[in-house]
Symmetry: C2
Subunit: 103 residues, 2 copies
DNA sequence: GTAGGTCACATTGACCGAG
DNA sequence: CTCGGTCAATGTGACCTAC
């Protein structure tokens, strides 16, 4: 896959630009995996709820994803494409430093 | 996105190679959109249940998808990648000849 | 302040009855 | 036969609570 749009369920809309303190979301610290706004550290790194949840599910269920792109393992992983390739998303989570014991 | 795997819900497993007549599935006629096994004509062309359902929903809800790949509109659309890019899947459905009034 | 759990929501595709 | 409708399965990500 390569694109899409509503692919995700609750694709968060543009943030109201809050006081950056009254919310759970850290508007200035990007998710180390997809660059979306993070919501604190998760499994060792600053990550958004999406990537944290994805990593959580992948680990818990022992998921083995396979990148089906021509350029194996080269899928872009940002807020827009993160749901296009689970294999590359998980790989980037790990590469970014995520680990089960969060440290 | 570029790959994946369980992306789809009920990814049909390898077919038991039925008598090719006792089932709804036409094992010898591929879906003109994704090459998966078709299940007869849908909206004008031989298509699988997946592409037929996708086209049905897209039309009914007047979906406007946007291809987010670098190579705009160049996403592969086969059984494996069909859920990677809705924009390209719909484009290919139309290009393959699908139309609301099936003819 | 993060792990873990929960859950509303959305999509997919197999199947069914109607015509 | 195809169409439209239905629905079980599944994933996503926003939240909440406990620690």
């Amino acid at each position: 896959m390569e694109n899409q749009e509503p692919q995700i369920a609750h694709m968060s809309a543009a943030q109201p630009k809050m006081p950056a303190s009254s919310s759970r979301i850290l508007y200035d610290i990007p998710c180390k995996v997809c660059r979306d706004h993070s919501s604190g550290k998760h499994y060792g790194i600053f990550a958004c709820d999406g990537c944290a949840g994805f990593f959580k599910r992948s680990i818990r269920r022992n998921r083995q994803y396979v990148c089906k792109a021509k350029s194996k393992g080269g899928c872009m992983v940002d807020k827009t494409h993160r749901n296009q390739c689970r294999a590359c998303r998980l790989a980037k989570c790990i590469q970014a430093g995520m680990n089960k014991d969060g440290n």
